[in-house]
């Protein structure tokens, strides 16, 4: 426990001094502001670009607050995931490669404390960034759109999305524990995006998967999800996160021998 505290302090300072604490939230906040703005002003933007064929009347579908959230979630599922994976891909592998880990591994450290401190710092930063992004979007939606989803629905949505983001971060950290940085990024992104493709193809039958969480979460904003499926997906995701954490700790220990001396 004492080691966990020491390591967490180190992770915290590292995130602050490498500006990770600044840029990761800002990217999410940026998209949170951009997405509602873009949709609201899309007609004017198209008009000013002026490429519209003569006489064509585009009737853009009327967007609701929930629609904007869905579209923003789509952004976070691509750019957001990319940013998170890139931000955390070197968490463990980088310390092995640079050799900074060597002087940690020669001490009587607990690899559980080592991994969990990184996990805690990364999960907190990622979840906070995601929530700040959706929060920023809320301030724009309130001003620009007629209907805003209910507050309690929004909270439930944010909680479900947080579980998904924890899964993403855990996958990235464990990949970083197991592989060199480049391989870790490739593996994490590969698994995430292939999972999305599989979900797109056979998702109707595969209802208990981490990749379903975002649509179940969004369903809270549009009338409520199938709570049975949501519970199943949450359970499966939690188990996967636990398994990934344990693998991560084991891999961190095993790969300590690969640290540069």
């Amino acid at each position: 426990m004492k080691q966990f505290g020491l390591f967490l302090g180190k992770e915290w300072r590292e995130q602050a001094r490498s500006f990770k604490l600044v840029w990761v939230p800002l990217v999410f906040i940026f998209f949170g502001a951009l997405e509602p703005l873009t949709y609201h002003f899309l007609p004017q933007i198209l008009e000013s670009v002026g490429n519209m064929p003569e006489g064509s009347e585009f009737t853009l579908p009327e967007m609701t607050g929930a629609d904007v959230y869905a579209s923003l979630t789509g952004q976070y599922q691509t750019v957001g995931l990319l940013v998170l994976v890139l931000a955390f891909m070197g968490s463990l592998s980088g310390e092995r490669k640079s050799g900074t880990g060597t002087l940690l591994y020669v001490r009587p450290i607990s690899y559980a404390a080592y991994y969990m401190s990184k996990w805690t710092a990364a999960v907190l930063l990622a979840a906070a960034s995601l929530w700040l992004g959706y929060g920023m979007a809320a301030t724009y939606i309130v001003q620009l759109y007629d209907d805003m989803p209910g507050f309690s629905d929004l909270i439930l949505f944010l909680l479900v999305m947080a579980v998904w983001i924890i899964f993403v971060v855990t996958l990235t950290l464990t990949a970083s524990a197991a592989l060199p940085t480049g391989g870790a990024a490739g593996a994490a992104l590969g698994i995430l995006f292939i999972g999305m493709m599989i979900d797109g193809l056979v998702g109707t039958y595969w209802t208990w998967s981490p990749w379903k969480l975002q649509s179940y979460g969004l369903a809270y904003l549009m009338g409520g999800p199938d709570t049975g499926d949501l519970a199943g997906a949450l359970a499966v995701t939690s188990v996967l996160i636990a398994v990934l954490v344990m693998c991560g700790i084991l891999m961190a220990r095993r790969n300590a021998a690969k640290a540069r001396v």
């Binding site: 500006f19 840029w23 703005l37 002003f41 940013v83 931000a87 620009l144």
Partner: protein, 69 residues
């Protein structure tokens, strides 16, 4: 519509946070670059990327531009 009219039409109250975020990202990236000066590829290239590519530039620098010494 003249340029000034167009500019006046822009809802600045809604847009300025975006500009502020970009400036903060750019500043943070430049401070970090100045402190480290070790990048993958030429430093000057990263200065241009950070300044001229909106939002993505600083993020690219923070994710793949920095090199661990």
């Amino acid at each position: 519509m003249s340029i000034t009219e167009q500019l006046a039409d822009v809802p600045w109250g809604l847009v300025w946070p975006l500009i502020a975020i970009q400036l903060v990202l750019m500043t943070a990236a430049l401070i970090d670059l100045n402190r480290k000066r070790s990048t993958n590829g030429p430093v000057i290239l990263w200065v241009f990327i950070i300044i001229f590519i909106n939002t993505i530039g600083p993020v690219l620098y923070f994710t793949v531009g920095r090199r661990h010494s």
